[in-house]
């Protein structure tokens, strides 16, 4: 099967998956929910508000009519108006999501860097003290609750040291005009160096916190794939030819052992985005995590559901991209019939 065929098939599956997840949220919110109108309107809503909600979501119609409107609304990105924020939910997501993406992509890059190097290091020192140290380290970060990582960083690095303990940038500074929505990039485009610096400094702690809680998975994959590659003939040949041991490991072997890491990149994305719910809450970073925790606290259900759907769709899309990348890098995947 060619790359194109593989891509089309995977893309088709992903679309099905997205529709499926949206239907699943429908089942949860309209059928499983004990009283859908109350869920959507909040527990303390007045009778008129509930009437409005019933009309808005067609809750008095049969379920298939409700499903029809729900799907139409979702795929036209019309998630209604947030009762707590008083703005259309799609506008809210448009402002908050890029900020989280900015945080998450930086965190993912750091995760991958830490994961790849600790994994390679552990494999190169298999069953020696370096291996055990790496294992102990990722066991610790894996088992520690995300909020505790954030609190420890905040306590030791912010209160005792110089880094800012929270928020996205110095609140005294005006936000740059939204061009891409990624505020550091916007500040850069605008040439607003003060803001750019401030937001970068504010990103350091949340990014480290997110990377710390999610690098273990990459370390694990990297270590095992590196161990396999180190046994291959070409690495042995390289060492025999007189390429230094370090060069053979960190250059020759590292490149090929990176391939399986691609498969877990999507997983890391899902991880960091779930982690950022808690991390953003602690660092008062106003992104999706803030939006989700706020909507939870204030019974703002439309925002919560819309955030979930948007995040899930992006996870599915990133999964798809990772799969296609994997197929480009490693043609054996396509030929194997794409078994997961």
């Amino acid at each position: 099967m060619g790359l194109l065929g593989y891509t089309v098939r995977r893309a088709f599956n992903s679309v099905l998956l997205i529709v499926g997840t949206v239907i699943l949220t429908f089942v949860l919110t309209h059928i499983v929910a004990p009283n859908p109108a109350h869920v959507w309107a909040g527990p303390h809503a007045s009778a008129t508000v509930i009437q409005g909600v019933i009309k808005r979501y067609h809750l008095d119609a049969p379920w298939y009519v409700q499903l029809y409107y729900y799907l139409i609304d979702t795929f036209t990105l019309d998630f209604g108006v947030s009762p707590y924020f008083g703005q259309p939910v799609s506008t809210l997501i448009e402002t908050f999501y890029p900020r989280t993406l900015e945080l998450d992509f930086l965190a993912m890059s750091l995760t991958i860097v830490i994961g790849v190097f600790t994994g390679a290091f552990a494999a190169a020192h298999q069953d020696r003290i370096g291996d055990h140290a790496v294992r102990g380290f990722y066991l610790l970060t894996w088992s520690i609750p995300p909020f505790l990582v954030a609190i420890i960083l905040q306590y030791f690095l912010a209160y005792k040291w110089i880094l800012p303990p929270g928020q996205m940038a110095d609140p005294a500074l005006a936000l740059p005009k939204p061009i891409t929505g990624l505020i550091t990039v916007d500040a850069l485009i605008e040439g607003n160096w003060v803001f750019f610096y401030s937001s970068l400094v504010h990103l350091i702690l949340p990014v480290i916190a997110l990377a710390l809680i999610s690098f273990g998975i990459i370390t694990r994959i990297m270590r095992s794939s590196m161990l396999d590659v180190l046994k291959t003939d070409y690495v042995r040949t390289a060492i025999m030819k007189g390429v230094g041991n370090r060069r053979a490991v960190y250059l020759h072997a590292l490149k090929n052992s990176l391939i399986p890491v691609i498969t877990v990149i999507a997983l890391t994305f899902a991880y960091t985005i779930a982690g950022s719910v808690v991390i953003e809450d602690i660092f008062s970073y106003t992104g999706m995590g803030y939006l989700i925790t706020q909507s939870l606290e204030n019974f703002d259900y439309p925002t919560l559901i819309a955030s979930t759907i948007v995040i899930t769709i992006s996870v599915v899309v990133i999964n798809l991209v990772a799969d296609i990348l994997y197929a480009i890098v490693d043609p054996r995947v396509r030929l194997g019939g794409g078994q997961s």
């Binding site: 869920v39 420890i152 779930a274 719910v277």
Partner: protein, 307 residues
């Protein structure tokens, strides 16, 4: 089952336990797990008795904290936010309540949740995953597509939404955790089944005329449990970890009741003057989760050696 197989099975359990104590990491894990569940059992029984047998609502059921150093609900305004000492091992919170007592009081909830969620996860995952691997084709397609649907969501976020929909209570937190937990077991069971399916003993069972259900439930299930067991052990800790996040976000038991995650979050406001308030309950969570991870790794090493 003959006497010999019963005997060897009993011996096998004892032997596995003995081998777990030989390596220091798995020994640490075993000790943590035994202490955690042992304590939770005793304290949990006391709490249940106190709740259901002495229930006049105006009297505090003292039996539930008979074993604790202090009453976990009793404020004491002479000693608010006092640092860890021999009088208060983990210090006190803003109302002067002893944090160590509160941590101990909260343990049974976490213990019960971890066991219930993992058991149901294994059960549902097995029911969907084993037939998927065994029959392949249509059954596999349907079951695994269904599983993928749940796996597409980031687990924590799906759990949040489920609990927000159903209501905020421990029971709904359990439901939410089960819903996000079974899919990984369905995948595991399917993978195990694919590995087992082509082995000789399954062929033998087929030839001796056993039905598909009997083969799956009697032979394949038992063979796959080896792998599942170590995962389930590690997951006991992971469930506690994710539940602590839910409780940190205010989706656990309501306020007067102590809970590990919610204690960390209420300590956040006093982080600068009272570090112990957030750190120590958080450290307890970490310790328990590490314990189960070490134990699970130990079990995997032993069972993998036996296969």
């Amino acid at each position: 089952m003959t006497a010999v197989t019963t005997y060897s099975r009993k011996r096998r359990f004892a032997r596995t336990l003995r081998r777990l104590t030989r390596k220091i990491p798995s020994l640490i894990g075993l000790v943590i797990a035994v202490l955690f569940y042992g304590w939770s059992l005793v304290e949990g029984i006391l709490q249940l008795i106190a709740k259901y047998f002495f229930y006049p609502p105006y009297v505090t059921p003292k039996l539930a904290w008979a074993l604790l150093p202090y009453d976990p609900f009793e404020p004491s305004f002479q000693s608010t936010l006092s640092p860890p000492s021999f009088i208060h091992l983990m210090g006190t919170d803003e109302l002067g309540r002893d944090i160590f007592s509160r941590v101990l009081y909260a343990a049974p909830t976490d213990a019960a949740i971890s066991i219930v969620v993992v058991l149901f996860g294994v059960l549902i995952g097995g029911l969907l995953g084993l037939p998927a691997g065994y029959f392949g084709k249509g059954v596999e397609e349907v079951n695994m597509r269904f599983t993928d649907l749940f796996l597409a969501f980031p687990a924590l976020i799906l759990a949040l939404v489920i609990e927000a929909t159903l209501g905020r209570a421990v029971i709904f937190a359990i439901v939410a955790l089960i819903v996000v937990w079974w899919p990984s077991y369905a995948r595991l069971f399917r993978g195990e089944m694919l590995r087992i399916k082509n082995q000789k003993f399954i062929d033998a069972a087929l030839l001796s005329g056993l039905s598909d259900t009997a083969i799956i439930s009697r032979h394949a299930l038992r063979a796959s449990l080896n792998t599942i067991l170590s995962y389930a052990t590690i997951d006991l800790g992971n469930v506690i970890l994710v539940y602590s996040i839910l409780s940190f976000l205010g989706l656990g038991a309501p306020p007067p009741y102590p809970e590990w995650g919610s204690m960390v979050s209420s300590g956040l406001g006093y982080l600068q003057e009272a570090w112990w308030y957030s750190f120590l309950p958080g450290a307890v969570i970490t310790g328990v989760v590490i314990g189960f991870a070490l134990l699970g790794d130990g079990i995997r090493d032993i069972l993998a050696g036996e296969q």
